[in-house]
């Protein structure tokens, strides 16, 4: 049978344009219903089955048969695939191929935009746009398609990557058109993210705000779907409900956000396919526990240019290690058996895909899993496994033809067939010209050496055998014609043109000398081409291992010890001997005592405690040292990801700091070094009713959920004064209600009265018999009012940012009349003016020791505030609201001694027992008493002294900071950095691109940080 070249076929496909059934045709119909048979192929039917000498038979864009024994119909066009391999083409499950990017919205005014600017019957928030349908936005893009096809992809999921609820993605083939033939499934998946994208609306302005928005949207949609008589028609909620049956994809940009997405999925009993960030290996246990499927990028960070040691110091160990370890991410998933697909998403240059994928393979990804992640896995995730991802009868004829193992670096991709149409990179039927020839040109004989790539051969001419370096000969191969042109000394340029004949390979034709004379020429193959050994694309000395991950993934992080891995192993007891103990109990300060810590609790305090022989007890000599309860920071903003304020509404009680706890914040470790063991992570003070707090222990190394204090009461941030009325936010922030202290009061009345009504409605519904419930329909769940109702039901407690006495009085009065009580006034710098009023209501105070003069409302702040409040009988704490000061809170407590003569023992309680009381944790923390949590600090000196250093900080009986171990960690950081710097320099010297280090300073939050930075580092 005569071999056809595919080039002719490509011409044919042009005629096939507009061959859709419903379209009229200009001129005669030109439909071909040919069979195409690919015989003698190494046929990869699916990621786990390869058939030798097999045949693939296709017709009209579909696979008719694929197998070892296939009867080829007579009318089939047959391609001999001897020596070639056919794979199902790859599927990219996360692209925006062919979907135009949305225009970046322009805010109309300099003032914030509190309402949606989108016209039409859509929802209230511009970032929630489930009504977006990628299939309606799709148009094939031959350039982008070509780029993906050259990588081996034949189909992709594509969506408009914009907004928090992004609408539906569509599944398309990567043919050049027409569009009607490319869309395989219109609405294929529903997509989400935490990124508000082009929305110009103020809400959300924080990550926790985005999370709350998604949650509220689910509740709204549930209500909307169930409500009997609709008072509103909402296109967004309609669309949202309609797409719930589709696969749900959530794009995340960090491992911790993967976990956040999974938490939302659990709440609403949906399953997200999580488009990961690439750093999942840094928290793989928790990632695995989500039981989610993942789509993983292979965009590894570039090495840094670290030759300048000062530039190098700008790169954190986190970034250095991530550079080294990123390629092991997919392999780690495969080894753990976590389902994943791969995507080209996030790659700046898609051409890096194979280079990076091979790196992943080198770092432990097995080829079978890789192939699965490119074929069956995405197909299954997207519900497209009956169409693409393997080569079976009835499926779309989407396959690639390669020279061999697709993962080999030297593999050649000949053609990518999409929907039965060939896109040829290199005609597989073309003769391979590479080899060594005897070239006879006229009277002369030379040696011609053809090397280079199959599709771009390069020629070299050797006049004599002794010649080392050949004369360059330009060689062009077009189908079966070939031209060779070379220049020889004294002869000028000689041009040969001719044909290629095979079996044996022979080139021959006519040529013209420099003087115009014509000659005959032939080139006879003497030696076939021998490919060079593959060059390693890496110069790395050692491959990273998952065991080398630090927890958290930062300097001062630690590898998981074997003890931690063996969860059943009992925690070691600790005995601190012969030390001074600040009990914070009625015993006061005890000298020369021993304290035994067992099972994470304080077990005994006695003059002498003997260690039973053979017991697992770590003995610490406390001679000359002083032991206190751990410091508790009642007001902290560390360890929070992407924004501490959701100030886009007067009440944002629906947002929860607990959703955005950041276990990787170095300030956790720094504060452990200052003796802090627990903290209330608070929302900022941008609005009268802020968000819900997270109460954590500083369990450095643990995942966010493990840091939270189990069973702790719920707290919420309120705020008064200049921040909530936006006094210092510039001239454009003058439109959000309230702008005065008068307005602040009304916000509270409004919210609480509405919450009361809401609560009654919810309770009434809950008390209905089940059958009546169905009839009545559940009222709309409102997360904002939920939280406020919790306050009324004494299930959530208020920490209120406050300064001047008028507003403090106001809120107490609002509380009196509506039946709630403020738990703690925080900052409360004019608390000394209303101590009696606070005392009457049993409200606690959490103040700064000596801050003032930074705003008009703190003009009357005095450092004696704590002393007056203490003497008035209130529970008084000193807090930090500052990542730096938090590590010296013991010294802040000492200022209560300096300013107002509070007894030392009582002053220490300002940062230990009293904040524990304010946070309702004093049954477990805040004092050294048998039965309480072993959260203690061993100080080198009187803990109130500037000269005191925390030498050991213990939480739940585990030493989280040790001044001696700290020295070792510093050495480790130095060594790790030095080692990776050597590797980066080697990478640079190997020719890899590098990026210049830039200073990177994470933002530190205080209450006043109203700015939106939830999309920044």
């Amino acid at each position: 049978m005569k071999r056809l070249t595919l080039i002719t076929l490509i011409v044919c496909t042009c005629f096939a344009a507009f061959s859709q059934e419903t379209f009229p045709v200009n001129g005669p119909f030109n439909k071909s219903h040919n069979y195409y048979a690919f015989t003698n192929a190494n046929l990869v039917v699916d990621y786990q089955t390869t058939l030798a000498n097999a045949t693939l038979l296709i017709k009209d864009g579909l696979i008719v048969e694929a197998g070892a024994v296939v009867k080829v119909p007579k009318e089939a066009v047959v391609y001999d695939m001897k020596g070639k391999t056919i794979y199902p083409s790859f599927i990219d499950p996360y692209t925006s191929y062919g979907v135009a990017e949305p225009e970046k919205g322009k805010r109309m005014a300099l003032s914030p935009q509190y309402e949606s600017a989108k016209k039409g019957a859509y929802g209230w928030n511009q970032a929630v746009k489930p009504e977006t349908e990628a299939d309606k936005l799709f148009t094939a893009d031959s350039k982008a398609a070509d780029e993906l096809r050259r990588l081996g992809f034949g189909s992709v999921l594509t969506l408009q990557k914009d907004g928090i609820v992004r609408g539906t993605a569509t599944f398309v083939l990567l043919g050049d058109g027409p569009d009607q033939e490319q869309i395989l499934k219109g609405q294929t998946a529903a997509c989400y993210s935490f990124d508000k994208g082009t929305s110009t609306q103020s809400n959300p302005e924080s990550l926790m705000g985005a999370i709350a928005l998604i949650r509220q949207t689910y509740y709204d949609a549930l209500w909307y779907g169930a409500v009997k008589t609709k008072k509103e028609f909402n296109l967004s909620l309609e669309a949202f409900n309609n797409q719930q049956a589709l696969p749900q994809i959530f794009e995340s940009t960090d491992k911790l956000s993967d976990l956040r997405a999974a938490k939302i999925a659990d709440e609403f009993k949906v399953k997200y396919i999580i488009k990961g960030a690439g750093n999942e290996y840094q928290r793989l246990d928790e990632i695995q526990a989500t039981a989610s499927k993942f789509i993983l990028p292979v965009n590894y960070p570039m090495a840094f240019d670290v030759e300048d040691p000062f530039d190098a110091s700008l790169v954190s160990l986190t970034d250095m290690k991530h550079w080294e370890m990123a390629p092991l991410n997919p392999g780690a998933f495969a080894k753990r058996g976590i389902a994943f697909a791969l995507t080209t998403a996030d790659l700046k240059d898609k051409k890096d895909f194979w280079k990076n994928l091979r790196k992943a393979i080198q770092d432990g990804l097995d080829e079978k899993s890789a192939l699965r992640a490119l074929t069956a896995a995405p197909a299954e995730m997207l519900g497209m496994a009956d169409k693409v991802g393997s080569l079976k009868a009835g499926m779309v004829a989407n396959f690639i033809i390669t020279s061999g193992n697709v993962f080999d670096e030297k593999n050649i991709l000949f053609a990518n067939w999409v929907n039965g149409h060939p896109y040829t990179m290199i005609d597989p039927a073309m003769p391979d010209l590479r080899g060594t020839y005897d070239l006879k040109a006229g009277d002369n004989t030379y040696k011609l050496k053809v090397t280079g790539d199959l599709d771009k051969p390069k020629g070299q001419l050797f006049v004599a055998d002794s010649q080392k370096v050949g004369v360059s000969a330009a060689l062009t191969q077009k189908g079966y014609s070939v031209t060779i042109s070379y220049e020889l000394k004294g002869q000028g340029n000689i041009r040969l043109g001719g044909n290629i004949s095979e079996d044996p390979l022979l080139l021959s034709g006519k040529g013209q000398l420099a003087d115009g004379a014509w000659i005959d020429w032939t080139a006879t193959l003497k030696e076939p081409f021998k490919p060079e050994a593959a060059k390693k694309d890496t110069v790395r000395k050692s491959l990273p291992k998952l065991e080398d991950v630090y927890f958290p993934f930062a300097g001062y992080g630690k590898k998981k010890t074997t003890t931690e891995k063996a969860a059943d192993q009992k925690q070691e007891d600790i005995l601190i001997k012969n030390t001074t103990v600040w009990t914070n109990e009625k015993d006061g300060i005890l000298k020369n005592k021993s304290v035994l810590i067992s099972g994470g609790k304080i077990s005994r305090i006695a003059d002498n405690i003997d260690v039973p022989a053979g017991a697992h007890v770590q003995v610490i000599d406390g001679t000359g040292k002083q032991l206190t309860a751990g410091i508790i920071d009642e007001h902290s903003h560390i360890a929070i990801s992407n924004g501490v304020n959701e100030g886009s509404k007067a009440s944002s009680s629906e947002v929860r700091i607990g959703d955005v706890v950041n276990s990787e914040d170095i300030n956790i470790y720094r504060q452990l070094a200052g003796g802090v063991t627990a903290a209330q992570l608070l929302h900022g003070s941008a609005n009268p009713i802020g968000g819900q707090s997270a109460l954590i222990k500083l369990r450095w190394g643990k995942a966010p959920e493990e840091m939270k204090i189990k069973g702790a009461d719920g707290f919420i941030k309120f705020a008064l004064g200049e921040n909530v009325k936006q006094s210092n936010w510039g001239d454009f922030n003058t439109i959000r209600f309230p702008q005065t202290r008068m307005g602040v009061e009304q916000v509270y009345y409004d919210c609480f009265i509405r919450a009361k009504e809401y609560d009654q409605k919810m309770k009434a519904f809950a008390s209905l018999p089940e059958k009546d419930k169905v009839k009545a329909g559940a009222p709309r769940r409102d997360l904002d009012l939920d939280a406020i109702a919790e306050i009324l039901n004494k299930k959530r407690f208020i920490t209120c940012h406050s300064y001047v006495q008028s507003e403090i009085m106001m809120l107490m009065h609002v509380g009196d009349s509506l039946g709630f009580q403020v738990n703690t006034f925080t900052h409360i710098l004019e608390g000394y003016k209303v101590a009696d009023q606070m005392k009457k209501r049993n409200i606690g105070a959490s103040s700064f020791s000596d801050w003032w003069a930074y705003k008009m409302e703190v003009k009357d702040a005095i450092p004696y505030n704590g002393a007056i409040l203490y003497h008035a009988g209130l529970v008084v704490a000193y807090n930090s609201d500052d990542a730096e000061m938090a590590r010296r809170l013991n010294q802040e407590a000492a200022k209560a001694v300096k300013y107002g003569n509070v007894p030392e023992e009582e002053a220490l309680k300002f940062v230990t027992l009293n904040p524990a009381k304010l946070l309702h944790l004093d049954d477990k923390m805040g004092s050294i008493k048998p039965g309480k949590d072993a959260d203690v600090v061993l100080w080198s000196d009187n803990p109130l002294s500037i000269y005191a250093k925390a030498e050991k900080t213990i939480i739940d009986g585990t030493v989280y900071y040790d001044i001696d171990e700290d020295k070792l960690l510093r050495e480790d950081i130095l060594k790790e950095r030095a080692r990776i710097i050597q590797e980066m320099i080697a990478e640079k010297n190997g020719g890899a691109p590098v990026t210049k280090p830039k200073p990177k300073r994470p933002r530190l939050y205080t209450c006043d940080d109203e700015e939106n930075d939830y999309l920044n580092d």
């Binding site: 000062f310 003069a853 007056i868 109203e1010």
Partner: protein, 437 residues
């Protein structure tokens, strides 16, 4: 108790009950000689006298001795203060501060620290200093008795002044009205600002231009300074003149190794006689360069977080020790958030450095004599030495530790200060309300 002390305390208590919420009266010049005996004197130059006799008259110290061996006529001094069990220190000097230039940070009308434009050597902090600032008395009650008040902003921010913290007006208080020129070395990177708030740090695209502009400005200023009678008077260049003669210092905010190195080279190129680096986060890494070029450091707030995640957790606490070990002249300041009112915690910053490597006396030097040396006023102040100003205070305990810092008496140039501030007035007012007093 010494009868005089008893009397004074009673008078103080009596007075304060009547005082409205306003700053205390500035103290009159010293007329009667004063002897402080029995206390532990920390001289500020590294020395300690356990049982000290410190005498001063007409504002100047004329006696620094060991009381146990001293023979003194009974009437050698008019007034004797028994400081037994107490600690005596030279007045602390707050370096590079906007104290008196900012009253309330969020109220624009109360801010006089930043002039518009980038080259303003001629604007002077001293004449803008608010002698009636409510913040000043809160400094004195913690031992801060002098301040170097400096403008901020732009590239060349202006001229600083050294002032004492007691007086009727800035003229009374000025110690060195034209102290030096403050500038900031151009930053290599800056945080961007977007519609939605702060963005990431990006390279400062103006960096090259800013350095070029600075070079031109200094070259022109230096040429201008060569003649006493310029063709046309240029206020900016006039203000630069003294940098080249050495009667004024050049103070440059610089933190990274590159910023510091570039600054040192720059100052050398233009023959600036006295260079001091302000901030100096990375200064400990380039001590040989600083030493060779005689560059001093006004080290930024000790109570800061480390600059980089991987830094030693206590790096800012121990950097002064590292500078001290390398023999660099340095003092401390409180640069950073709310620095103007935070200066009352200056002593505790020094206290921390004593917990991280230095001796307490060395730590004290960094907020007294070293500061005076850097500002070129150490001949007359900065330590308790005969012939120097009687600017000193008595604390009942270790003044570097907040636990024990309790300033009972303070003198500026022999003038006995009224140790009272508005915050105490409010304290007493509300103690009364609750019957706590």
């Amino acid at each position: 108790m010494n009868p005089l002390l008893k009397h004074t305390t009673a008078a103080l208590l009596f007075c304060t009950g009547l005082l409205p919420a306003q700053n205390p009266y500035p103290a009159p010049a010293q007329t009667k000689s004063i002897l402080i005996t029995g206390g532990t004197a920390h001289l500020g130059n590294g020395q300690v006298i356990q049982n000290a006799a410190i005498g001063f008259r007409k504002g100047k110290i004329d006696l620094v001795a060991d009381a146990s061996i001293l023979k003194l006529a009974k009437d050698a001094y008019d007034t004797i203060i028994d400081a037994t069990g107490k600690q005596i220190y030279p007045g602390l000097i707050a370096a590079s501060t906007t104290l008196g230039l900012i009253e309330i940070e969020s109220v624009r009308a109360t801010i006089d620290s930043r002039e518009t434009g980038s080259m303003n050597p001629n604007v002077r902090a001293g004449i803008s200093f608010n002698s009636d600032s409510k913040i000043l008395p809160t400094m004195r009650t913690n031992g801060v008795l002098m301040a170097q008040v400096a403008p901020q902003g732009g590239i060349i921010a202006g001229t600083s002044a050294v002032l004492t913290l007691d007086g009727w007006n800035w003229e009374d208080m000025a110690y060195k009205l034209n102290d030096g020129v403050f500038m900031s070395w151009p930053k290599q990177s800056a945080r961007t600002w977007t519609d939605d708030g702060p963005g990431p740090l990006v390279a400062n695209t103006d960096f090259g231009k800013q350095v070029t502009d600075l070079n031109k400005f200094f070259a022109d200023a230096k040429a201008y300074a060569e003649t006493d009678k310029p063709e046309e008077k240029n206020l900016r260049f006039e203000a630069m003149r003294n940098l080249f003669t050495g009667t004024e210092n050049l103070y440059v905010h610089a933190n990274s190794v590159k910023e510091i190195t570039e600054t040192v080279d720059f100052a050398k190129r233009y023959g600036v006689k006295h260079l001091s680096i302000v901030g100096g986060i990375d200064s400990w890494m380039v001590t040989p360069l600083l030493k060779t070029n005689n560059v001093s450091i006004i080290f930024g707030r000790v109570h800061s977080l480390p600059d980089k995640n991987d830094d030693d957790v206590d790096l800012p606490f121990k950097t002064p020790y590292l500078l001290h070990q390398a023999g660099i002249l340095y003092c401390l300041n409180q640069e950073g958030d709310q620095e103007y009112h935070q200066n009352r915690n200056l002593a505790f910053n020094a206290g921390t450095t004593a917990a991280y490597g230095l001796s307490k006396e060395e730590a004290l030097m960094s907020i007294t004599l070293n500061a005076a040396k850097i500002m070129g006023i150490d001949k007359t102040t900065g330590s308790i030495e005969t012939g120097k100003d009687a600017t000193l205070f008595i604390s009942s305990g270790d003044a570097l530790d907040m636990r024990t810092n309790h300033v009972e008496f303070a003198f500026i140039q022999g003038r006995k200060l009224d140790m009272y501030n508005e915050q105490q007035a409010l304290y007493e007012r509300y103690e009364r309300k609750y019957g706590q007093k």
